[in-house]
Subunit: 146 residues, 4 copies
């Protein structure tokens, strides 16, 4: 499976009682939510604090999801912080794919791939990403693949 | 993509304001939750009212998820009921895979595949499914594939 | 505490595994969500299918919450449907207060009061409720108090 | 309303796109969840890292909620961190009441009071809090009231 690349962004999530189900582990329905939080935090880190909220409202750029896939390797619990590594692995003409690997206590909890398309937010119409976004992402993909 | 088989179970979800994000569509993080609700309802239907809660507590059988994948085809909104069709598509030695296709107003909103393993709940240890479960599921898979 | 008035609207919620925490009961954080779902359903019932989503987008009327209070009487579990009775108990100049009493198996799980203000949605500015809304609600309050 | 006491614990929450509804503000149903996260974090801070999860599983002490009340003063948005101040305001024979005041950009978003009872977790039976818990909380209440 390999490790996250050095350029991956790390986002820490506090897993709590309220995230857990009666099996005493985080409910599966919460795990995609955690991964999405991590991807949103990746944007905040790389766009000067702007996450999906600011991207949509201030930049008129949407990134709706078209596909997610996740493999769950170990139960996630409140015993440790959930460290989510996020990095882009593919930039298409109008889409981007992120990988999110989430660790607790050094062990992989889940790994997933998430694909978004870029849209003109107020028209919900596909678009190519702005040049500054492309310029930001391409080197990160190159670094990750190296 | 095809239609759900006739033997698919239909579970209706009321999508509401609180499920939606500022793009005025259901937040992506809610969609796996909806699919899981539908799978839980599938069990309730086929096990005399017992869903995951009763399966774990009364039958000591867990079915943790090991993989999910979902393709999002159209935004989900509160304008229509979200009708989720659920059916098993594969029964392995110790695992089961469900397909969930969710429609609004007759159009496919998302489609996904979800794999669980059967466990002894109080030991969190993989097991083969009980014979009555196997006897229940195998004909459904045969019907779906026909 | 008394019973809900005959004119109260009943909204049923399926409580599931994913709503529960490791104490094997619905997580407290889910219970206000359930009550809100019931209030939204009350509007749908009384406005020809329009809930908060349609009220905001189609009628330009918002009803943000200014206060909630809830008393939890018994744990809520997936063993029974959660029947939520909803009815208005007060209509102010620009506000409305609902009571929500939630029962499982005939026993009160929680009771709460929820106050919203009426707003012009796209201006987030307080307003008096439209006359048709007032005409709808006043008799219901009279019936409830009778 | 006053300010939080100096001894109040501050817990920061990142409000995101997924927490918001189509009115572009955090959905009301999320706000009690935030307050609960802050109370859980208060316990973690004061019990050497143990939150509700560890309290229940490792200490066999539950603290189920019997009452919540919240007043919403200003919309909560992703534009600023949500800083939640938490402090105990009353310790009864078998109960504790916390106040949570949540600020964004220096302005009060909501204020709430939350009452829990202490229980023997595995028996779901009321109990007096252990002496070390009482010894921890009493001075904090005295400081807050000073």
């Amino acid at each position: 499976m390999g490790s996250p690349p050095d350029s991956a962004f790390a986002h820490d999530i506090r897993v709590t009682w309220g995230d857990c189900d009666p099996a005493k582990i985080a409910y599966t329905g919460r795990l995609p939510w955690f991964a999405l939080d991590a991807i949103n935090a990746w944007w905040e880190r790389h766009l000067g604090g702007d996450g999906w909220f600011q991207m949509e409202l201030d930049r008129n750029m949407g990134t709706p999801f078209v596909r997610i896939e996740m493999d769950f390797k170990r139960p996630v619990t409140p015993r440790h912080v959930l460290r989510c590594y996020v990095w882009p692995i593919r930039l298409g003409e109008t889409s981007i794919t992120f990988q999110v690997d989430a660790y607790q206590d050094g062990k992989l909890g889940f790994t997933g791939k998430f694909t978004n398309v870029f849209t003109v937010a107020d028209q919900f119409r596909k678009q190519r990403p702005p040049e500054d976004i492309r310029a930001l992402i391409e080197p990160l993909i190159a670094q990750a693949g190296a």
